[in-house]
Structures are given as C-alpha cells and as structure tokens.
C-alpha cells in the first residue's frame, strides 16, 4: 500500500511524458490532478492505519536494491507519524497546487502543458520517496530526484537564459549540499554498519551524547550541509531566490511548501542522531536564526513580489532550523506544516496577481489591486496575517512555539533575534500587501523590467493587448488570448477591468486560506488550554525504538522501560505557564508592531520609506543587492575555478606540460610515424601483411631470447 503513494504520481508522470503531447489539456491536467488526489486518499488511509499500528508505523520492503558484501540496502518505505504529516502536506497541498495549475498554465500549448504536469507529477513521486524512504539511500533517491524536478521546473521556460541559469544554479548548489549528504551517509555506514534510520537511531541511543567533535558530530554536520543546500540556508541559500524564474505554482509547491522543507524533515527523521551531537545542534540553531534574520532583512527591500516571498521562505525555514537546533523537533515540524499552508497561499495569491497583470511582478508597478481582485486580496491578507503570527491564525501557534522553546532552552540571544525576525516578517509582508493591493494603481509603467516573468521580449505582444499582455508563456506557442491575461491592459493609469482568479484558482486560494487560519488547531499549547496534539502525535518519530539488541557497553543513563524521549524537552510540566503567556504576548505585540510600521511607511504615505532609504542609503543598497553574496561567490569561487581550469590545467598542464613532453618524444620518432603514414594504403593485403609481420616480429623476438 505504501508503494502506491509515490507510484500513483509516477504513473501520472509516465502517461503525460509519453502521451502528453497528443492529449488535450483537460485530459493531461485531469490525469495529473487525479493521481495526486488518489495519492492523497491513499496517504490518508495509510496514515490512519499507521497511527493505530504497533510503533505507530507501517513498513514495506519492496525489493532488495543495492547488495555488495555487507552493504545491503533494501528499497524500503516506512510510514511513521512524522512521515504521515509530510505525505499529507505533500499530497494535500500538492493536489491543490495541481488544480490551481490547470488554470494558471492554461496558455501553454498542449505539449508544454503536458510537459509541465509530467514534471510536477514526477516531483511529487520523488518527494514522496524522500519522505517515505526507510533508509538513507532511498531517501537520497528522492532527495536528488526532487532536485532534478526543481531543475526542470525552474528552467521550464528554457528559452529564457535567466531561467535556464537559475535551474542549473539550483542543481549545482544542491549538489554541493549532496556532497555533504553523501559523505555523511558513508561515515554513518562505516560507523554503524547500517543506513536504516531506525537501526541507526537505536544504535546511537546506546551511546552517550557526544561532547566534542566526534564521529556523530561530523556525520551530522555533513548531513546538515545537505540540508543547507536543499532547504536554502546559509551558506547555500543563494539558489532559492533565483528559483523564482519558474512558474509561480512551482514556487508554491516546490520552493515553499514541500521540497525546501526536506532538510528540516531530514533532521527530524534523524532526531536521535542529532540529539547525540550537541555541537551540531548548536550550529544548526545558529545557522537557522542567522539565515532567518538575514533573509528577513533582504526581504524588506526587494521589489519583485516573488522574491520577497522567496526571502520570506528562506527566513521561515531558518525558524524551522532554529527549532530543530534547540531540540524542539515537534515545533519545527509544526511550523513546517503551518508554513506549507500560508506560504503556498501567499505564492498562489501572488500568482493570481501576476496572472491578472499578465506577467507583471514588480511591486512598484502594482498598487490598488484590492478592488479588482477581492478574492485574491482577502485570502492574501489572511496568509499575511498567518505568517506574521497574529493570534489565532496558524502561524501564531507554530512560530510562538519555536520562540518559546528557544527561550526555555536558554538561548536567549537566539530568541531575541528570532523575535526581531518576527517583527521584520510582519513588516515586509504588509509592505507587500500595501504596495500591491492598496493605494493608487501604478501598473502602467513600462514592462521591460529584468525580473519579469515573460520569456524574452519577442513575445508577440503586438497582436495582443499591449505590451503587458506578454504573458508568462513560451513565445512560439500559438497563444489564445486568455481573458484573464489580455484584459490586464491598462491605459494611462486608468483602472482597466481586472479579472480576479478564475474558479480553479479561487477555490484553491479559499481552501488554503481556511487552512492557514485553522491549521494551528492541532498545536494549541497547554498554556492556552490546548493539548498540543501534534507534539504527542509526532513524539514516537523522535525516539529510538528498543528494537535493537541492548548493548551493555554503551548503555548509559536512560533506564530500560522509558526509552529516551529525546525529542521532548520536557515542556510544560517544568516550564512556567506564566512565562509562556508573557512570551506569547511579547511576540504577538512584536508582530502587531511590525504591521504597524508597515502601515506607517506604506499605507498612506510612501514618502516616509523613501526618506529612510535615502538617509541610510548604503544599508539600503546593501540589502537591495542581497549583501553582494552572489558576486562574492562568483569572484571567490566560480571565476578562480573557471580561469584556473582553463589557463593552468588545460592550457598549462595538459597541453603544454604533458603533451609537450609527449610531442617531444613524438618528434624524435617522426620518421617512424612518417613511414606508418605511408603504410596506410587502404589495401587490405598491405594491412594483412603488416599484421603478419607484427606477429612474426613479436614471436621472433621472443624466440631469440
């Protein structure tokens, strides 16, 4: 049954990949949505079965995959509470985004449409393998597989150089992370002779937590390097903002809700292992909070609607890593889950805006969309409130849980930075809301903005309604003027007729908005009279199970019976409920203040923000240019490697040094090669004679000895 979950989208992929170009859009899109919904249903049933089972898990070994000596890796899937949450997010949110895409991508040709959905289905299949894999190598199949789909989907509009570049950048940066993941796996296998998650956990549980730079610390750091790649953390976050070149639903599904959370999930999957490496955990928390702050500050000044959301995603992922780093695994996963709703909502909302404005992505060219796009506006505001952490929306509970756990673990500096980030989050989100939806309509500005989504300028804009109609589709596609896109044409700032999201998109926005409001129900803390069910539900996933044979040598502290509840940092029994309530009030206050700042700067008067930007121009430019990290990487890593390889290695070592020596020898025997050339007569008899001569010479030489 478990195999069915990834298999269904895979079947969808195969159908659309092989037959897609002959199918009408209704069929190819329909199949893609259908397999996702079916996979969701199977996931739901499986999760229910698993939650009732022993160990709260079900496992399925499909076949024996890699066998080499003692290295035996079965292709095995395992569904435990943690995986249940993830597969429901992936198939649930995934289904919604598939449905949304049927409308969003409608302007593509049939074959491009099918190609899009085949990639999207393939992504879902790999993501589900990643989540369900019972051992590291199977997870790695999904891990690199989703990277591939991300590559393909970022570069979906492959004619556009920036899109193709962004896809390649994503893949290569992820490969740097995967290098760490790979070595981490090797080190773990060399240490524990197994790569099964459960077996590793139970073997680790017999050790004492490592005080220093031991093998567990190194292995977990290597794995974390993989996580920084996939989940866009410092130092490997640089690919995610560029990944916004992909279609917006892709940004929502892959680069917000699911794939980028894989790193967080991986740490949760190996909670016992990471708990035994406190140094690593400290680094994870530090990187997480630093990334959260850095991305938040960049998000404050970006002008591309999707890039703001991208930096916001990086920032929120930082929160999740902060949670993991302080050992609050359940809180991290809880935030992952709520974030999937509201960030998907925000991206899809931005997609509806872009759709309505025929490809416009620059906030400076928006404004006043509230009236024309009421559904988009209201759902977007709900998403913004949720991510800002306003009570009682879902984001409030999950973000607050992380901040509280950080505080109660004694990392008050990190808590303070987290709080500052929460403030920034509220500010940049509402800056976006006000710039896009409030104030005057400004979208009559020239569309030739580098960050726009339309591929190259050759879009036959003329036959449509003005330059703005150069929609986000591939140019040679015989484009049927889509009402939603075409009527976005505006005339000298006068509000033209805007079309709100078409039904398939609107329904998805509304469902996600409801989710963004209500998803927090499962994690209402005890301090507010809730029971934090998700924490209790997830708990078995963060513990080692006593299935491994007890090894007396390393057995430490935990007495048999209550087998290490490592994931739980004994929360509410010890913590002061009063403190928790105060902290809650503080973070809520900060969020409100953040929104207030946005109101002050951007709601009525935009002048204020510009004055601030001018008075702190260097800082503003630094943020606008994203701390120049891309340029730094290029100058410090990319160019030296490129130049060094060309001049030093290829033209230096290879051509001059080695070949120089070889040709020197060659020159010495030029006479010989000259006669060889003459031998080449093309006559078979001559060749046969030379063959024979060779044999004779060899034999003769041998016999003479």
């Amino acid at each position: 049954m478990l195999l069915l979950i990834p298999l269904l989208p895979l079947v969808g992929f195969l159908i659309n990949a092989f037959l897609g170009r002959r199918l009408p859009k209704v069929v190819s899109g329909g199949i893609a949505c259908l397999v996702m919904v079916a996979s969701f249903v199977v996931s739901l049933m499986s999760a229910l079965t698993a939650s009732r089972g022993v160990d709260h898990a079900i496992q399925q070994t499909v076949f024996s995959w890699i066998t080499s000596g003692d290295f035996q890796i079965p292709f095995a899937l395992r569904l435990d509470p943690l995986a249940s949450v993830m597969i429901l997010v992936v198939t649930g949110i995934g289904s919604l985004i598939h449905i949304y895409s049927t409308a969003y991508m409608h302007e593509e040709t049939d074959s491009e449409y099918a190609r899009y959905f085949s990639y999207l289905n393939l992504f879902a299949a790999f993501m589900l393998v990643l989540v369900l894999g019972a051992n590291f190598p199977v997870m790695f199949v999904g891990w690199e597989g989703v990277g591939l789909c991300s590559y393909l989907l970022i570069g979906f509009w492959f004619r556009k150089k920036s899109a193709a570049d962004a896809g390649k950048k994503a893949f290569v940066v992820n490969r740097i992370g995967d290098f760490g993941f790979l070595l981490g796996m090797l080190l773990l296998f060399a240490t524990f002779s197994t790569l099964d998650f459960q077996e590793v956990a139970s073997k680790v549980a017999m050790r004492a937590p490592e005080a220093g730079w031991g093998v567990l610390t190194i292995a977990t750091l290597l794995l974390f390097l993989g996580a920084t790649g996939k989940s866009a953390q410092i130092p490997l976050y640089v690919w995610l903002p560029d990944a916004m070149e992909g279609p917006t639903p892709v940004s929502a599904l892959i680069h917000a809700a699911t794939m980028v959370t894989a790193g967080v999930y991986m740490i949760g999957r190996n909670a016992v292992l990471f708990t035994h490496a406190p140094y690593t955990l400290a680094i994870v928390a530090g990187i997480g909070v630093a990334t959260a702050l850095m991305a938040g500050t960049i998000g404050l000044v970006q002008n591309d609607i999707k890039r703001v959301l991208a930096y916001s995603t990086v920032s929120q992922l930082g929160y999740m890593f902060l949670a993991m780093g302080v050992g609050a695994y359940a809180a991290g996963i809880f935030h992952l889950y709520t974030h999937a709703f509201f960030k998907a909502l925000l991206f899809l909302g931005s997609g509806a805006v872009i759709h309505a404005l025929a490809g416009e992505q620059d906030l400076r060219n928006m404004g006043g969309l509230k009236k024309g796009l009421p559904i988009t506006y209201w759902t977007f505001v709900i998403g913004a409130l949720a991510i800002a952490g306003i009570f009682p929306l879902s984001g409030f509970f999950s973000k607050d849980e992380i901040l509280f756990r950080t505080f109660s673990s004694g990392r008050t500096v990190m808590w303070a930075i987290g709080l500052l980030t929460a403030f920034l989050t509220a500010t940049y989100m509402f800056r976006l809301v006000f710039l896009a939806f409030h104030g005057e309509r400004r979208h009559d500005a020239p569309p030739e903005h580098p960050e726009e989504e339309e591929p190259a300028a050759q879009a036959a804009a003329g036959d449509l309604h003005g330059a703005h109609a150069a929609a986000h589709s591939s140019p040679p596609a015989p484009r049927t003027p889509d009402p939603g896109h075409a009527r976005a044409h505006v005339d000298h700032g006068h509000a033209a007729h805007l079309h709100d999201a078409p039904p398939a998109m609107a329904i998805v926005l509304i469902v996600l908005a409801i989710g963004s409001i209500a998803a927090g129900i499962v994690g209402i803390p005890h301090a507010l009279g809730g029971s934090n069910e998700i924490e209790a539900f997830l708990a078995p996933s963060f513990e080692a199970h006593a299935t491994a044979p007890a090894n007396s040598e390393f057995q430490i502290a935990p007495p048999p019976g209550e087998f290490v509840a490592l994931g739980r940092v004994e929360p509410h029994e010890t913590a002061d409920t009063g403190t928790e309530l105060i902290l809650m009030a503080v973070s809520l206050g900060v969020a409100v203040a953040g929104i207030g700042l946005a109101v002050y700067f951007w709601l009525p008067n935009r002048g204020a923000s510009e004055r601030v930007a001018q008075s702190a121009a260097p800082v503003y430019r630094l943020l606008l240019n994203k701390y120049h990290v891309d340029e730094l990487y290029d100058a410090a890593i990319v160019q030296p490697i490129k130049q060094g390889s060309t001049l030093l290695l290829w033209k230096g070592a290879d051509a001059a040094l080695i070949d120089g020596a070889v040709n020197g020898v060659g020159a010495a025997v030029r006479g010989a090669s000259g006669s060889l050339r003459r031998l080449q007569t093309g006559s078979i008899r001559a060749y046969a004679a030379s063959l024979f001569l060779g044999v004779v010479l060899i034999l003769g030489w041998y016999l003479m000895r």
């Binding site: 076949f63 024996s64 995959w65 890699i66 066998t67 080499s68 000596g69 003692d70 190598p137 199949v141 690199e144 597989g145 591939l148 590559y151 570069g155 492959f158 004619r159 556009k160 150089k161 193709a164 570049d165 896809g167 390649k168 893949f171 290569v172 490969r175 740097i176 995967d178 290098f179 790979l182 070595l183 090797l186 080190l187 060399a190 524990f192 093998v215 190194i218 050759q458 490697i641 490129k642 060094g644 390889s645 290829w650 070592a653 080695i658 070949d659 070889v662 020898v665 060659g666 025997v669 090669s673 060889l676 050339r677 080449q680 093309g682 078979i684 060779g694 044999v695 060899i698 041998y702």
Partner: protein, 549 residues
C-alpha cells in the same frame, strides 16, 4: 563455446568482406551494413546466452576451454569467464551493434572495410576479457590496437593521423614493457617450479623477489594505466576521441578503456599483491587527482567530444580508486562503474555524434535552443546526462556510491576529495546541456534540424533503458559479480602477510589460494569500522597499506 562467441565476429567480418565484393561499391553498402549489424546482433545474443547460462553462485571460471598450443613454452589456449569478465563480455556485445548503427549516416566511404574492422575489433576485445593465458591475452591486447588505429586513421576527422599515431605510440610503450614483464614472469615461474608457464591461474602466487615483483608490477601497471587512461597518461584520449568517428569513440570509451582497469584487476594486482599494496596509495592518489583534474578541464572545453573525453578521465579515476581500495564494495563498484561508463559515456558519444551528423560541428557555441527544435533527442540527451552525473535511480549512482563507500572504508579523506567529482560532474554536464539545448535558437542552421530518426530511436532506447534498469535493479548485475570480486579481493589480500615474509626466489611456494574462502565474507575491513566507530580521531590518514586486516 567461448571460442565460438569470441571468434563469431571475426568470421562475420570475413563474411562481410566477401559480401562486399571487390572494390568499394556503393550499391553493396546496404547489404554490407545489414550483414555487419546482423553479425553483431548474433554476437550480442551469444553473450546474453552466456549470461543466462552463467552460474552466479561460484567464483570459479566457467565455460573454461584449455588446449595445448605451444607446450614447449608453456603457452596454452586457455579461456574462461567469471563474474567480472562476464559483464564486460556482455557490454562488448551490447555496444558493438549500437556503434555500427551510429555509423550508418556518417560513414560512406569503404563501408565494407569499416564494418570489417569493427567486427575484428569486437573479437579482439572479447578475447582480451576471456583469456586466461598471459600470452594469449597479450596477443588479443595488441590485436585491439590495429583495427582501432585504422578506424581513427581512415574514418576520423581532420587531425586523425596525429591522433592515431599518438594513440598507437602511447599504448605501444606500455604494451612492450608489459610483454617483457610477461616473459620475465613466465621464467620466474620456471625457476621456482621447474616448468615454464604463462597460464594465469598457475602464475598467481608465483614466488618472486621483491625487486622483480616491483618491476613486473610497474610494467604491467604502466600498460594498463595508459589504457585507462590514468592522469597524467591521459593526453592521447582527448585527441583520439575527438578525431575518431562516432563508432570508434563509442567503442573506445565504452569498452577499450575498461581493458585497462580490467587488466589492473585481473593481472597487475593479484599477480603482484605485495607490490600492489605498496603502490596502490600512489595509484589511488593519481586516480583522485584525475577525478578532479578531468572534471575541471572538461568544464572549460569548447568541443563537446573533448568535454566527454575529459569526463571519461574523471569517471575512470573513480574506477581506479575503487580498485585501489581493494575491498568488496570498492572493487564491485569499480566493475559496476566500468559497465556504467560504457553505457552512459557511450550514450553521450552517440548523442554528440547525432548532433555532428546533422551540423558537422562539435563546438558547443554552434548550438543552442535545440530543445525547441528536437525535443525527443534532447530528452534522450537529458537522460544520458543524468546517468552520467550519477543521479540516484540511474546506473551511475550505484557505481559511484559503492566506489566511494569502498574508498571511504579504506581512506576517508581520499573518498572525500573524490566525492567533489560528484559536484563537478554536475557543473560541466549541465553547463554543456544548457548551452546546447536551452535558450533561443541563435544559429539559423539549427532551426530545421530533424528529430530522432527510427534508426536513432533504435540506438537510444536500449541505451537509456539499460541505464535506468541498472540504476533500479543493480542486484541483477551485482549478485553474479560478487563471488568473483570476493575471490579477487581475497587473492590480493590473502597472500599479503604470508607471502610478504616468506616469499623468496626459489622457495617453491605455490599458489594454494585457489581453494581459499569461496563464501562471500562480510565486511572486508571490520577493524576499520570499529576504529572509526569508537575513535573519532581515526578520521585522519592511516597507514597506507591496502586493507586493514
């Protein structure tokens, strides 16, 4: 039976010559082509039959044929396959028909002779992989050079003569030294046992002085690493590849390079285990340098064929690294990677050939935006690219992972450096893929290129299907391979402690390890694991001996 399989292509080659009639007649071209293809397909079927009949549970050589040939010199006609050579035989059978098919559009002069050389080449390559007599092996080894020399020299591109001569000279230098070592080894055997022999199984464990063993090992190894090619002996390869016709490149990369790594595994290491232990770290160091170096140089190549050629240097570095680890994972991964490289690099050369058939240029800058023009060809290109960069689920991953695992158990830091090749391969392959296929069609000549023809489908489908199948069901290949791998690892290790101390000229020590452990052993290097597990500081470099047993 093996003789039939080996010489079937040769017989076919003669047949093709006869069918072609006198001279170079164009109207006979189709007949010649189909005949050659049919011969190669029958040959492939025969290798598959061999696989079907193969007993996967034993490490012994199977289908053994042994006849006296020149008994006064101890030379016999001795053939056999084990789990290692079996798949190289199948690979040869698999790639030859594909290579022949690639030539249908590009080769038009002397098709008869071309087909003849291709089939002769196949026989020679098969002979290399199944010979169990060193003299016989040497004959096949050198016989491979002749048809390849002509294939490059006659049907190659502009600088073909330079490339062909460079290829011959490079390889001959190694070969001649190997011949001397073979003869020397035979005589050393005679002096310790009284009988002259060139039989591989008898020569295993021949008593040698340290000096002799070292020199023999170096002579063999030089011949093999030139063939691989290992950095810094690789500069013949880019030239040979660039100038060779597509079919030649496919066979050269797909099969011939493996003769080098096969030779290391079958001859150099187990015949001279003490010397192998001594030199393996240096060879591994060159392999790791080659992995990184090949990848970096591949990255900046403007010519697609050169790029793929340098990527071969990188990939073959992985294979050699796996061999030098001398444990089950490393060696098994290395053998697997030999097959992978045959499929994926063979596939890449085929794709590049298809492009240059259409445009008559291999320069990356001449292309761009092909995805819009030839979506199917580009899809095939993508899949082969993914196979080459070792995406999990494709064949390359299994090989690289096992090699890295084997290397890691031997020497973690070496494995870590080698693993950077995983990053670099993505850089150079995806960069090429992007420049060729993405973006706008910038060159007008590219706008009307035809997509895959039926003949090209027939080439690409088996290649891609194999790449995927080998990634999902590696057990099909790994299981029959394992007993032989365990045997060879044992052989290299097994003689280590005893032979190193007791071995002296004339001591009469005979190989008795034929009967040594047959059952697959768990963890070749268990002490290493426990060291790593308990002592984190053990991550540092260790003693450079092979295997920590």
């Amino acid at each position: 039976m093996l003789s039939t399989i080996v010489f079937l292509p040769l017989v076919g080659a003669v047949l093709v010559l006869l069918l072609g009639g006198r001279g170079d007649r164009a109207e006979r071209e189709p007949i010649v082509r189909y005949a050659a293809l049919a011969v190669s397909l029958v040959s492939f079927a025969s290798t598959l039959w061999l696989w079907m009949q193969f007993n996967a549970s034993t490490a012994e050589f199977q289908f053994v044929e042994q006849h006296e040939w020149l008994p006064q010199f101890g030379i016999s006609y001795h053939l056999g396959v084990d789990g290692i050579s079996l798949f190289l035989v199948v690979l040869t059978g698999f790639l030859t028909p594909l290579a022949l098919l690639t030539s249908w559009q590009s080769v038009h002069e002397s098709v008869k002779l071309f087909s003849f050389f291709m089939l002769v080449l196949e026989t020679a390559m098969l002979g290399v992989f199944v010979s169990l007599d060193l003299f016989l092996f040497y004959i096949f080894w050198d016989a491979v050079l002749i048809p390849m020399y002509f294939l490059i020299g006659i049907w190659g591109y502009e600088r073909r003569i330079y490339a062909a001569v460079k290829f011959i000279l490079y390889t001959m230098v190694g070969s001649i030294l190997m011949l001397v070592a073979i003869i020397g080894l035979g005589y050393a055997h005679a002096s310790s046992t009284g009988t002259l022999s060139f039989d591989l199984l008898q020569l295993y464990g021949t008593a040698l002085s340290r000096t002799m063993e070292t020199w023999f090992f170096l002579a063999f190894t030089l011949a093999f690493v030139i063939k691989v090619p290992l950095f810094p002996f690789h500069t013949w390869l880019p030239d040979a590849h660039v100038e060779a016709p597509t079919a030649g490149s496919v066979i050269l990369a797909g099969v011939m390079l493996k003769m080098g790594t096969y030779g290391l595994l079958r001859f150099a290491f187990p015949l001279f285990p003490t010397a192998a232990a001594e030199f393996a770290p240096y060879i591994a160091a060159l392999a790791v340098v080659g992995i990184v170096y090949g990848a970096l140089v591949a990255m900046v190549q403007p010519d697609m064929k050169k790029l793929v050629a340098y990527s071969s240097v990188s990939h073959l570095g992985f294979v050699v690294l796996g061999l030098c680890a001398v444990n089950v994972n490393g060696v098994q991964g290395a053998v697997y990677q030999m097959l992978n490289h045959g499929v994926s690099t063979g596939g890449l050369f085929i794709i590049v050939g298809m492009l240059s058939d259409r445009r008559h240029t291999r320069l990356i800058s001449e292309y761009g935006g092909l995805k819009a023009v030839m979506p199917r060809l580009v899809a095939a290109f993508l899949l082969i690219t993914l196979s080459s960069i070792a995406l999990p689920g494709m064949n390359g991953f299994i090989g690289e992972f096992l090699i890295l695992l084997g290397a890691f158990r031997w020497h973690p830091k070496v494995a870590a450096i080698a693993a950077t090749g995983v990053i670099l391969s993505a850089v150079y392959m995806l960069w090429m893929f992007q420049r060729v296929n993405y973006g706008d069609v910038t060159n007008e000549e590219n706008r009307r290129l035809p997509d895959l023809s039926p003949r090209e489908w027939a080439i690409m489908i088996p290649t891609i299907a194999t790449a995927i199948a080998m990634g999902i069901f590696p057990g099909v290949f790994l299981k029959p391979m394992e007993p032989a791998v365990v045997r060879v690892v044992d052989r290299i290790h097994g003689t280590l402690p005893a032979a190193a101390s007791t071995r002296s000229p004339g001591s009469g020590l005979r190989a008795s390890d034929e009967s040594s452990t047959l059952a697959p052993r768990p963890a070749a290097d268990s002490p290493l694991i426990s060291t790593l597990g308990s002592r984190p500081s053990a991550l540092g470099p260790r003693s450079s001996r092979i295997g920590q047993r």
